[in-house]
Structure formats: C-alpha cells, structure tokens
Amino acid sequence: MSHYRKHTLLAGLTAAAIGLAALPAAAADVGSVHFLIPGGAGGGWDGTARGTGEALVNGGLVGGASYENMSGGGGGVAIAHLIETAESQEGTLMVNSTPIVIRSLQGVFPQSFRDLTPIAATIADYGAFVVAKDSQFGTWDDVVAAYRADPNTIKVAGGSVRGGMDHLVPALAFQAAGGDPLKVAYISYDAGGDAMAGLLSGETQVLSTGLGEALGQLRAGQVRILAMTGDERIPEAPDVPTLKELGYDVSFANWRGFFGAPGLSDEKADAYAEALGEMYRTEAWEKVRARNGWTNLFKPRAEFVRFLEQQETEIGDMMRTLGVL
C-alpha cells in the first residue's frame, strides 16, 4: 500500500511539474485539477485551494494540482473569466465562499452561483459572539437582555462592511431574540484583528467574528466566547453553546467550497464531488485541516445547491431588512 501511495505521489508531482495529466488507476476519473483562486496569494481562498490540492494529491485522489491566482472585483474577475472560457475549463475548480452569495446579491458582479456548476462545500466556519474577559456580560442571554432594554448600548464590532457576514450574523441573532435587526449598532472594522482591538479598548461591547478566529483569541486569554451559530457544538470548542440550544432559532455557516465552469458534464462534476468526499478519509487532509483549524462541512452537488439557495434567501431577506440592498 505504502509503495503504491508513494508511486501515486511521485506521479502526481510529475504531473504538477509538467502540467500534464498523469493518470494513475485510482485517479482515472478526475485526472489533474487546476485551481482558480479569485484572490491574491496568501488569502483565505488561496489557503483553501492550496490545502485542498495538497490533500487531494498526497491522498492519491487526483493526478496533480496546479494553481492560478486571479484577483480583482471581489472575485468577479475570476468568475467572469471562468464563464467566458468555460469550454476550455473542464479541468478547473474555482474556490469560493459565502461572499459569492453576498456579493452577487449586492450586485458587485452580475453573476451568481447559478451561472457556475456547484461541486461541493468542503469546510465551514461558524459565527461567534465574543466579549472581553472582564465584560459585564456572563452569557449570551445577558447580552440579549441589555439589547432589549436599549439596543444602542450594545455596540457590535465586526471585521466586515455593513451588510457583510459579521453584521448579518448578529442581525439574525437579535432578530431571533425578537429584536429589530435595524437597531443593531454594528461598527465596521477593517479586519477581525482591528475589531478585536476595538473590543479590548472598550469602545464596543460584543465582537462578531468567525469561531476559528475567536478560538485563537480565546487561547490568548483576553476574551470569552458566549455563543456560536453552528447546528451543534464542535469538538474544538466543547464549552461554547450554540444559539439553537440557547433557544434562538438561528444557524449560520460560512462555507468554503468549489465550483466548476458552466456547462460542465454531470459525470465530471460528480467525479470531482466524489474525489472531494473521499478526501476527508485521507491522512493528508487531516493534516491540512488540523494545521489550518478548519471544520469539515461536506455538502456535495444537489445538497450544495439547496444549501446555497437557502442561504441566498436568508441573507437576501436580512440584507433587505437592513436596507443594504
């Protein structure tokens, strides 16, 4: 077995190096994958694509992987490119995430996920609500009580623009608590780190951020996490309750996943989804996942489309309520 794996790895590396599809038996369905990354080197999309490619190749699931960064237009440049050159993009997977839904609702780019071939969501991060260690709020219920008394006293910091993810999550949460999402005093910061600095300086009371990032800050010992937006608790944070179990019917997952070019054959698309599904069983993936602190969330093909449609409805409704559409 190990001999076989080694052989596949070598073949994969060779294929990546010369850009040709070497086809070892196990990878006959997929061949080599070309990852299109809609952002620059070093970003979240970049890490996801390269990590997935690494796991697929090292796990012997594809023959090889190559990567292409194409930044611009919040991902719009890469989407337009994939659609325009669809005929020659059979071997291409584009990485994307929740912002493709948000930005297409906003009209940042004219296309949506419907103009592409959704393959699968692969990982997720949940929203988390964080307070400073010495905050007067012990539980999420305390925050909700204070919000009900005067929404303006709860300034919520987040690392995205108004109407972005960090804003939508508290808006959904306070709405589920019977509040008016429009009254959420959301303060936009440039990035999660700055929002964190804002929380620690005392100018905001609650930080809305990704659970992965929040866990990093929890380890630094300056904050407490009050709640998260997953359907169930996750093993990395067994003490953090979900909003659902606290009695607020909200769940939100910031997924990352992959899309093929429009018009991709079902056969090919299913093969990609299958390879990604197989990937979770490889050691190579576990290594990449643990290194990046990702949470698995596998939603292939039709399930992915349903999930995207549902997310589009939820986010779209909330954005209209907030008046950012």
Partner: protein
C-alpha cells in the same frame, strides 16, 4: 515579557533568519547606494520576493534591507556626494569634504560606527518603549487613531522643509484621493471605480509604491543622465585611506552620538517625521552646540557634522518602528511600505500584535540589533569592494529595476491591468518629480487615508452621529493640539523671517 524576548531571540537566531539579516543588509546596502534608489524602493522590491515567507522571517529581511539602504545611502553620499536616500543628504555635508581630503576610509568608518551606535542605543529604547506603548495603545479608541492619522499626515508636510510645505500637502491630498478609489470601506459599495471591475478592490498598494518609487526612480536616472559612474570610478579607484580612528576622535564623537541617538529616536517615534528630518535636526543641533574652531569645521569635514546625522538617521529608523508595531500606524513613507508588507504576510500590526504574535514583535526588534552588528562587522570591511558596484552602468541597471518592479507586481496579482496601470502611474510620477513634488507624502496619504476614513466614520457611528469626540476625549484632544502646534511652527518661523526682512528693509 521575558518569555517574549526569549521567543523572539530564538526566532531571530535561527540560521535562516540570521542569513536573512545578512542578505537584507547586503541587498539594502547595494540598493541604497545606487543613486535615486532609497529604502522605499529597496523594500518595495523585496515584497514580492518575500511572499509566502514566515512573517517574522519576512520582517527580518525587511529590517535588514532598511538599515542596509540607509547605510548604503551614506556610502554614496560620502564617496561621490550623491545621496541615494534623503535621509543621508546631511551626511554628505561633511562626509564628502572629508573624502576629498583623502580620508574616505575614515569617513566611512565614522559613518559606520555612528550608525551602529545610533542603531544600538535606539534598539534599546525600542525594547523598552514599544511594550510600554503597546500596553497604553490597547486603550486607544477609534477617535484617538483618527487624531493620530491627522497628526501623521500634517507632520510629514510640516517637516518637508522650506517652500515644500504646500507641495507636500498637495501630494498628501493626492494620496488621500487615490485611497478613495475602489469600494466604500463601511458599506462595501463600489465608488470612483469608473465602472471597472479591476478597480473594485482599489489600487494595490504594492503597485503604487513600485510605480512611484522603484519605476519612476529608475526612469529619472535615465532622464537626468548624471555621470555618476565616472565620479564613482574616481572615488573607488582612489585611495580609501585608513579605516582606523584615533582615541581623540572617538572621544569627540561620543557625546555627539549620545545626543543624536536620543534626538533621532524620538523624532522617529513621531508619526510623519522620519530619518531625514532627524538627520537634519541632529546636524543643526550639533552645529549650534559646537564652539570656536570646531564650529568652523562644519561643512569642511567635521567629525561631529558627520557623526550627528549618521547617528540620528539610524536611531530614527528604529524609532519609526514603535508606532508601526504598537499602533499599526506607519510614521514614514518607508514604514508605510513596511506596513503593506506586514499585511501581505497576514500580520495585522496594532496593539494586539504584542500579545498575539510576540514572536513577530520581538524577533523584528531583536533582528534590528543584529542588523546593526552585521552592518558593522561585515559591511565596513567590504565597503571598498561594494562601492565598485557604483560603477555599474545605468544601461544595465535601469532595465533590471524595471524588470523586477513590473514582474514583482504581476506575480502577486496575475492581472494585466495592473501592468498598464503601473506604467501610467510611473509616468505621472516622473512628471511630478520633475516639478519637485515629493512622493513620500503621497504614499503615506494613500496608506493613512484608508485608515483615517475608517476610524473617522467608526468614531461617528460609535458616538451616535456626533463629532463631539474631537474635544471630549482627552487623548484625542491632546493629539489634535500637538498637530495644531506642528502646523503652526513653520508658519511662525515664516512670519518671523518676514518681519525680520521687513525690519532689514526699513533699516536699509
């Protein structure tokens, strides 16, 4: 804190990182020595190379390049009276006369010792001041940041020197305007992108830095056609003289170095004031302190006149890392480029850097110290040989710089549009330079403009729509008052001078 220092020490002392300091110092010295290319270009050229590096390693390389470039600038100031960097213009006042007397070796040695001492003393200050400021900075809120940005932007113009205040101000505004292009930072809606998708994310900072510094400086070399290489050949083939200093000379230097380090460090900490201002102020201060014959020596090869600016510019270079590392606010054009580099490594400089990424924080500070040591023990003996590189013909050099800057930007974005835009920006920058418009305030305006807008708008939202935070928060008010004083000072000088002229007119 001791833990942090030890982590930083072990990070900085890994073979890779030590090699990086050395490579950085060497590359920086070389680039800084080339006329026209300063630390900003040197650092901008390094950004694409360091993509994918560990943040600490990348920053260590940058710090090495920074020091090397300043040191390299002094070498060309002393040998051929052609400062590669504005921060070493004052070095040429006494360094070049000294070299012409056949004491080039001694002048270079003084410059190296002064740089080393200035850097060392400032690194110690940094070690103390940065954590202290970082803990204070944790309580800084958005209005305070906004006020600091205003201070930084006005200071860079106020210190721009006589007659340049307006030009520097105008370039700052150009930078602010360029920062508006892209998307609204709070609402996320496109603005001023002329319907172009490529402009939705705004102008890339690396592109702007490369186009306005590396590219346009290379083009300026072609336009000016200076016979630098002839002068360099003469200087490098002539006698360097001994590198040794006498005991009396060391004794003369010591107090100058002590005073200039302190001055340089604090000037460097001020947002908007950097190595250039520090070197001029230190030179002026020493000339005022000198008495009798020693005063007469200034401008004719004075040891003090050489040691002061060299100490101060290195001390200021260390000092300017304080606001960068603790507040995330670049104090100068160079640290603005460095901030861009940090962000591209995924490090978010600010008050949380000290607690969340202590290994980055401390290894940068410590590697600055190693940078100084390496400059002294490696660069100084090598200088006569490195100086030969000054004779590299510009028809070889210019294409090299053009190639590296264009490919550097393309390799990050892989977008053709960036190449076109870079060329356009570079051509405009060359035209502005021909009319003596400074580029550093523009790049600072560009970087700070975005931060300033976000902080102002955030302050207003936090304050429920009122701007009363401007006078209600003590820290904000203090910083704004300091800003007002800094703007007023050159005006006071201007009016006093005019009155003196008027009185002289009446007298005559």
């Amino acid at each position: 804190m001791l833990d942090g220092i030890l982590t930083g020490l072990s990070t900085a002392l890994t073979p890779t990182n030590l090699a990086m300091v050395f490579i950085g110092c060497f590359a920086g010295t070389f680039i800084g020595m080339l006329p026209g290319l300063g630390p900003i270009s040197a650092i901008a050229l390094m950004i694409p190379i360091t993509y994918g590096f560990d943040p600490a390693t990348g920053m260590i390389l940058m710090a090495g390049v920074y020091y090397g470039a300043i040191f390299g600038g002094s070498t060309s100031s002393i040998l051929i009276n052609a400062p590669g960097v504005a921060g070493t213009v004052a070095t040429s006042f006494d360094g070049y006369p000294m070299a012409r007397k056949g004491l080039a070796g001694k002048a270079l040695a003084i410059a190296a010792y002064a740089s080393f001492s200035g850097g060392t003393i400032a690194a110690i200050f940094l070690l103390i001041a940065a954590p202290a400021l970082a803990s204070v900075a944790l309580s800084f809120q958005s209005p305070d940041y906004f006020a600091l940005m205003v201070l930084g932007l006005t200071a860079v113009s106020a210190f721009a020197g006589r007659g340049n205040f307006l030009k520097a101000m105008m370039m700052t505004v150009v930078g602010l305007m360029l920062a508006m292009i892209g998307s609204d930072p709070v609402v996320g809606m496109p603005r001023l992108n002329f319907g172009r998708v490529d402009l939705l994310d705004g102008i890339s900072f690396l592109l702007l830095a490369m186009a306005t510094f590396a590219l346009s400086e290379a083009l300026m070399t072609v336009l000016k056609r200076e016979k630098i290489s002839d002068a360099a050949r003469a200087a490098t083939q002539g006698r360097m003289g001994s590198l040794k200093l006498s005991g009396a000379e060391v004794k003369e230097m010591a107090p100058v170095v002590a005073r200039s380090s302190v001055l340089g460090f604090f000037i460097g900490v001020l947002p908007g004031a950097g190595a250039t201002i520090a070197s001029f102020l230190a030179y002026g201060m020493e000339r005022n302190f000198a008495r009798g014959a020693k005063k007469e020596e200034f401008g004719k090869g004075s040891i003090r006149g050489l040691a002061a600016p060299e100490t101060a510019n290195n001390a200021a270079a260390s000092g300017s890392f304080v606001p960068l590392l603790t507040l995330g606010i670049p104090g100068s054009g160079t640290t603005a480029v460095m901030l861009g580099a940090l962000i591209s490594y995924g490090v978010d400089p600010g008050p949380t850097l000290f607690t969340e990424r202590p290994e980055v924080f401390w290894s940068v500070i410590l590697s600055m110290y190693f940078g100084n040591v390496i400059l002294l023990i490696l660069n100084l003996p090598l200088i006569p040989y490195i100086a030969r590189l000054l004779t590299l013909p510009s028809n070889l050099l210019v294409p090299l710089v053009l190639f590296f800057s264009l490919i550097g930007v393309y390799l990050v974005s892989f977008n053709n549009f960036d190449i076109y835009m870079m060329v356009i920006v570079a051509v405009v920058a060359v035209m502005l330079r021909l009319f003596d418009y400074p580029m550093a305030p523009m790049i600072l305006g560009f970087i700070l403009g975005d931060l300033m807008e976000r902080n102002l708008r955030r302050s207003i939202t936090l304050n429920d729509g009122s701007i009363s935070f401007l006078w209600e928060r003590p820290i904000t008010l203090t910083i704004l008052v300091i800003t007002a004083v800094i703007v007023a000072l050159p005006l006071v000088g201007f009016f006093r001078q005019r009155r003196r002229l008027a009185q002289a007119g009446e007298g005559g």
